[in-house]
Chain length 346, copies 4
Amino acid sequence: MIRFTSDYCEGAHPTLLAALADTNLEGNPGYGTDDHCQAAARMLCRLIGRPDAQVHFLTGGTQTNQTAIAAFLRPHEAAICAASGHINVHETGAIEATGHKCLAIYCPDGKLTPGAVQAVLDAHTDEHMVKPKLVYISQTTEVGTVYSLEELRALRRICDEKGLYLYLDGARLASALALGSISLTAVASLTDAFYIGGTKNGALFGEALVICNPALQPDFRYLIKQRGGMLAKGWLLGVQFEKLFENGGALYLELGRHANEAAARLREGLKARGVLFDVDSPSNQLFVQLPESVLEGLQPDFAWTDMKPAGAGRRSIRLVTSWATTQEQVDAFLAALDRLSPSGQF
Amino acid sequence: MIRFTSDYCEGAHPTLLAALADTNLEGNPGYGTDDHCQAAARMLCRLIGRPDAQVHFLTGGTQTNQTAIAAFLRPHEAAICAASGHINVHETGAIEATGHKCLAIYCPDGKLTPGAVQAVLDAHTDEHMVKPKLVYISQTTEVGTVYSLEELRALRRICDEKGLYLYLDGARLASALALGSISLTAVASLTDAFYIGGTKNGALFGEALVICNPALQPDFRYLIKQRGGMLAKGWLLGVQFEKLFENGGALYLELGRHANEAAARLREGLKARGVLFDVDSPSNQLFVQLPESVLEGLQPDFAWTDMKPAGAGRRSIRLVTSWATTQEQVDAFLAALDRLSPSGQF
Amino acid sequence: MIRFTSDYCEGAHPTLLAALADTNLEGNPGYGTDDHCQAAARMLCRLIGRPDAQVHFLTGGTQTNQTAIAAFLRPHEAAICAASGHINVHETGAIEATGHKCLAIYCPDGKLTPGAVQAVLDAHTDEHMVKPKLVYISQTTEVGTVYSLEELRALRRICDEKGLYLYLDGARLASALALGSISLTAVASLTDAFYIGGTKNGALFGEALVICNPALQPDFRYLIKQRGGMLAKGWLLGVQFEKLFENGGALYLELGRHANEAAARLREGLKARGVLFDVDSPSNQLFVQLPESVLEGLQPDFAWTDMKPAGAGRRSIRLVTSWATTQEQVDAFLAALDRLSPSGQF
Amino acid sequence: MIRFTSDYCEGAHPTLLAALADTNLEGNPGYGTDDHCQAAARMLCRLIGRPDAQVHFLTGGTQTNQTAIAAFLRPHEAAICAASGHINVHETGAIEATGHKCLAIYCPDGKLTPGAVQAVLDAHTDEHMVKPKLVYISQTTEVGTVYSLEELRALRRICDEKGLYLYLDGARLASALALGSISLTAVASLTDAFYIGGTKNGALFGEALVICNPALQPDFRYLIKQRGGMLAKGWLLGVQFEKLFENGGALYLELGRHANEAAARLREGLKARGVLFDVDSPSNQLFVQLPESVLEGLQPDFAWTDMKPAGAGRRSIRLVTSWATTQEQVDAFLAALDRLSPSGQF
């Protein structure tokens, strides 16, 4: 079975796995108070040029989003997000479970714009409505699109003007960074907080939440513990991030680049075959339409994520590549397409 | 540095670590829908003789307690626990953060009794007060004591009579099982839900929540996701529990026994030296008093958990052994005591 | 100042005020355990032909919605509503504050349809998303429209098929009942729970929540207390509802009819003058567009609710009539329009 | 039936009722934005000499406590209170329902002391536990005792030293003020926020929350709305507080004094008859023990609150007087005692 279901179908990159084995019996204090976590945090602060930032390591994305947003907002404050935003759709109401409303607005390509933010602000005028306070974006987005530096700057500007926090969900930040349109330093300078996804880029698990805005830092560890996110053997997170970010984050970037290259090869192969794309995404997630008959034929050997019917006997699906995807796997998929539709009609 | 701070200072038992490495690139579906999780769940159901039980794997104890209790209770219902109960003291209000009150009652040895439960019930008589609905116990308890089979049966009886759920926190269940006073089957037959702790008994992380009461099972995975506890690479949990529980749970029990034996050796050594015990605990946690001067001398080489001043220049401390504690480590501690107090006065 | 701002700008209907004065020094037990509340509850149960229904009296609409929905749903369950639904927009996230997501869907006339409900269900397929469980509607709706009996029956059918609760917010139920398209008995037979609004129909304050579905009744008073809604002098609510609903609810209906008639007179007057309507609403709320210059001229003498810019120098406004609106007030408004736009151009 | 059950068994003082009737058809904007609320707020600010204070009117005590504490605390912060504190026992977990733990400590006479506060602080040392942040006291307390000026000052000092908020629940503040041991100005100068109870001192309903600490003021109205506490006809609260506090609060104090005098007459009568007191309370709540046989005899004519068995065939009960209690009612109770126990044995 070759899986394009997601970028978390394999375990850890061998370098990280080896580091976990090497440190297995070291003996470390618990809950992230160990030297590995501290070293990894310092490494990240140095890399982004923000010695005053706070870095916390958590195990997953929903946990990180929920803990951060619950920590940052007062009870009546709400998060603005794209309707397709992960917090709005795919976290089983985790944000609402902490008491906060997601103010979702439809964005054609999954990217929030200053105009969309302003539209939400315009609709929330007094104390009978929640107060928009935090702008949630993801980079890359849930549909694989990427904010340019200029787009992020524009969001920062409206956040500054309106007194909003800008929070960036970086579950797939590696893919965005590897595309070169934006640097980690820029992300840090433009957001109040963001997280660097490890789970989807070579770690067994783990996300590094960076809190850039000092006003949002106090007592954050209390929140991690309260939300069930404080890993007893916290050094497991530090050890992995040390490896991902030593040498200026070389491995982290390399794995992101690998996933992008696999996606590019797949994208080109699909385009060459005339496959229809639902989204024009440059990153490691591809959204395409395939005939149901073809999908049936692929099923014994390949896995993907089904999205929705696309009409005319077709379905929209998502294909995701990762640091572990091989050229052979991509080629096998394309070859299977050729085999299943000799006419080349998709 | 030799650590008696806790039983989560080392990584995974080599068998588990090897299994994680072996399965690293297997390619698995996410979120615990993989074969390893299913196999481990079946294994546990068979072991406890409850094919109708539900098993869910989560990463940590606070997360498990919070998710389970939030799932089981209606908004006005509350959990009865010993004042020393983990949910009452050491989870940063995780239960309250889901909206539920902990009704804590002082229990001298950390163990709830039917009398204590009844006292809480007597004090909660109408809708101006919360409604006690779930009895939370831990086995072993936070102070290392162990419920006997008869004590658990008595709690079950009052729960049946009063319509209460009985929930058992098994973070350190291995130590209790290895002491032989109660079996896993008995735990399953007497509780509505309980969890089998992996983190403190040889796993990198992981707890297996067993929901025995069918009325508490529906939709539980929604709750795991909502509380941020659904691990993307969920098979990591399944793989570890497969190893811990293959062959009837041989490894799980063996690791618990190892921790207990190390504790026994330490206990005897301390008793032989006249060290005062704060609690009479048969398991892998020891609570003793030592002079501050002795503790100062131990500090460069040993770590423990400081509890509180004990008067007369002494402090109460906690010493914990684990599956990874060696005989040499215990002996080194005892030898250090002898060196630091040649008079043998503690 | 003549107010068309809302239907809660005056105190109580004289009959209710007199009853409050008459019973002022009676001496009653607190928290709604008095004879008046019980008599009023029995009256309502008889009127709807449901002796098994539970009736609770609360002080306001947001409080009632929040308490009911928090009581009815498990943590991962969500409420489906029109995007314009009161719980979605005008309750400052009260539902989310209890942990539940509002699944809002755009409905042109503020009325949910089975198709809209189905669309929400289709988009929520697994445990990574919240589980739709309750359908929230209001009668009359937030834009003054009214569900017909057939429309309510259709919603009931889809709720039955899909295992959803149907909850009806009756803040302005009087206006709907007085229009004659649906009876109180029908509302009770088609919903799992609904409330009969007193605040907007002659009471100082007060809503009567009727829980028809026995599965939703247990322990409801705990929830009222927990959410801060249990009025110490609860009989104030009972006394008022006794008056509104004695003689088969004659006064309640009469007040609703009065408000509708005032609205009809106003509607006809506006239509006769060619004023544009944003919504075709038959009840006591009218949504119209007026030129800003006209509004400026009205401001010293009249009050209304401003909605939004309508383009071309006009604004959309809301005009509400109530049990206390007089024919003279309506005529004064229409006369002012004539005075302010002698050309008759609106 | 003569009721000593509580101080909320009658409606409003005639002066307030008349004011409500007088303003009934005035026409007022909703939600507390009217002139009456503003005038009453200014009146209170002037009276306490704090023009910078914020005053909000809510309908009940639980609602006020819940809204204030939810507004003031971050998610991991907790409220310190006496074990007998209203928020800890009699609000059905309303505080926990907003996510915050009550850190209850046993206080023999229901009054928190700096030592008790310090004991709670000592037990909460790191992020594995909640962070104590607000000290909740009530004046008079739940057992009728009263903090002296010096006691309040001592609590203020420890709050200042430790960075805690001091919040005072004034459900029965009138009784305390009327006893003369402390002034409203002193309460305002020593607390971060407090509320002035109307419900138990002559109002139909209503509490005036005074937020003295400017850091706790922003956006408070959002919280009121979100918690369901924003009364549509908010002027009903303003009108009543205007009457209670015009002329420097003359009526408010007079009603408190009346309740105290009735309690004093009752207290003396009971003491003269040798009745045992459970608490030495100077205010309008008396806690005494009476033989069950006597209570049985009283039942047809009198009502009180049963507390608990007191041993030897006796029960502890609570007797409460109010602004509406008459001398005749007190004398009738004492006469009944004499009749029921001719021997004078209680």
